[in-house]
Amino acid sequence: MNVRSQVSMVFHLDKCIGCHTCSIACKNIWTDRKGAEYMWWNNVETKPGTGFPTAWEDQEKYNGGWACEDGNLRLKSTSKTKTVFNIFHHPNMPTMDDYYEPWTYDYQHLFNAPEGPDQPTAVPISMVTGELINIKAGPNWDDDLGGSPIYAENDPNLRGLTEQQRQQLFAVERLVFFYFPRICNHCLNPSCVASCPSGALYKRGEDGIVLLDQNRCRAWRACVAACPYKKTFFNWSTDKSEKCILCYPRLETGQAPACFHSCVGRIRYLGVLLYDASRIEEVAKRPAEELVEAQRSLILDPHDPAVIAAARSGGIHDSVIESAQRSPVYKFVKEWKIALPPHIEFRTLPMLFYVPPMAPVMADLDSGTVKNVSGGLFHDIEEARVPTRFLANLLGAGNEGKVRYALRKQKAVRWYRRALTVGDVTHAEAAEMLAQADCSPEEAEAIYRLTSLCTFDDRFVIPPMHREEAIEMLADPLEHKQSTGFGFLTGPRRGL
């Protein structure tokens, strides 16, 4: 057992209102720069929908992630041999057209336009070339277009759905969609790291955050192609790849990442998970339908004395172990089993988990009105507006059972609370539902509290990052006196 700690995340999709506050917080702090205008380290997608970059989930198009063949894991986009031959032209490299060309508006024209019969307009101009452009796509281009035949119908997760299930999703006036916020998953088996010819990408040993060393990146572009979530981005101006850094400067000072901190719906949870690093490869090779369970088995119980002893001998600080014991992510993922990894069939073992959304599932009955009393108890989940097949393609590697389990437990918690507070559900009925959903009243209460009444400190259990042990502490501070500080001291300029 090789115990390591990983800062992990849970996004509760039922609470996401699609306001994009997270995206804006991130953009304002990190990607509001030349070359990074088109990047959204955090973005919120409408599902069903094609997402950003367009159809990123379609690995027949992008060739991201891992494949498991003959018991061997290999990257779909590259290999040691392919790196040699594809270094001049990466065959799986997406281009700016797959994202969108960033633009601004010629506001000066509003002031400079000669007098005429019409109001002057501010025409869009490209932020790359500075020339007039015809806008074809933008961030959240398919926002809220749940029933769109151009966007939603091309959602790769619709594969394997019956015609009837598709019609259910696209029926006029009964359209259904939900939001899917995304950041880097800080995977345990990251394909971006494994693909980098320069070794610029790395996982931080202490907290598992995946970072990209700007000084080592040589623009070979392999990470952009290899990440199946398309969460490494190519800065066209500095010619370096960039990615979500999980706001590590904020984490190191005890603050939640900006997207977490600003989340209006309070959908985001952050905490440490302890896991067994020696089993990563074995788990990543498991058959697709077993992957969710296999990844859970990697996550270790932070209360188990054997785990604690192994963690200590692995150099994990007691304060981090204690933080892991209070981790909300551990509860959602491991104890309650209601948070699921996105597209774990890409085999990168993502450490961002999603609680599947109930709202569009349950809004099926009575023409959109949520039905309070359930005769067949879990009947409406089986005939959900959003088919569990769709959610399973997104969050369960096709394993519908995992999604159904999470939905049933959430519904049981709601009915349990209804029985307590509203009273239109009998206690016997609620108890019966809890029993069927594999949930004790104590657990239901805990889920209810962490979902509905969660405070800042409940949602974000940030481990001490122990910067006092960091490498900079060994450097001479006087050397950096009156300069910009430690680390990167020169302006990021393209070339020499």
């Binding site: 032209h89 996982k203 010619d239 692995g314 150099g315 020169t490 393209r494 070339g495």
Partner: protein
């Protein structure tokens, strides 16, 4: 021999190479030590993907093979002469070298057209990029010209350029190998020195950071502040 051309030869084939190589080593090392961030291939594939393939792939394969040929002839001239002693082998060597040189020329011209015609690529092109591209084009074209006009280069390179370069390397320069060579050959050599001189200031430095460690490193990379025992 008049004295003007003597001094020109001294300048271009004695002074220039030493200046070029000194600059090359000094600046590349200093740049790597102090401005590591600037070491990049400055790829523009993200902005344009179609023409990129038809330009960059032939250019790189062409140049790599031709350059390797020059280096081999410099390192093992005797063996090259032995190989060339049979006409058929000579024709195979020269023919394939010419094919790769033409491949490089076609690729370079395609890359230049791409740089000039695609608005997004123009945006990320500096004047120095154009100087570099012009020098490279000149180098390839004079190379092809020399190959066609003065056969068989692979043989006479081994008996003139190679001993000349070795004499430079041994710090006992002997220009007698090089002074009788025709003008276009000399221009090819001088342009090569200019490229070496310019090398450390341009995107060419990406050649020096080819990702060889990737071929034998483990797939995953983990960095620690304080590596635990056994990690």
């Amino acid at each position: 021999m008049n004295s003007a051309s003597h001094y020109l030869d001294q300048f271009f084939f004695l002074a220039l190479p030493y200046v070029a190589f000194f600059t090359f080593f000094f600046v590349t090392i200093e740049r790597y030590r102090n401005r590591k961030f600037t070491y990049s291939s400055l790829s523009s594939q993200f902005l344009e993907n179609q023409q990129h393939f038809w330009g960059l792939v032939p250019l790189h394969y062409g140049i790599l093979v031709v350059l390797a040929g020059h280096i081999v002839a410099f390192l093992i001239p005797r063996e090259v002469l032995w190989w060339n002693s049979k006409p058929l082998r000579l024709y195979i060597l020269e023919g394939s070298a010419l094919v790769f040189a033409i491949l490089a020329a076609v690729g370079l011209i395609a890359a230049m057209i791409r740089r000039a015609s695609v608005a997004k690529i123009r945006r990320v092109t500096t004047p120095l990029d154009w100087v570099l591209l012009a020098l490279l084009l000149y180098q390839i074209l004079t190379g092809i010209e020399v190959a066609i006009r003065y056969p068989w280069g692979s043989s006479w390179f081994a008996t003139s350029a190679s001993p000349y370069l070795w004499s430079l390397l041994r710090f006992s320069p002997d220009l007698s190998y090089i002074t009788p060579l025709p003008g276009s050959v000399k221009l090819h050599i001088v342009n090569a020195y200019l490229l070496i001189l310019l090398f450390p200031f341009t995107r060419l430095v990406h050649i020096l950071v080819i990702p060889n460690p990737y071929l034998w490193r483990k797939p995953q990379v983990v960095r620690w502040y304080r590596p635990p025992a056994g990690a």
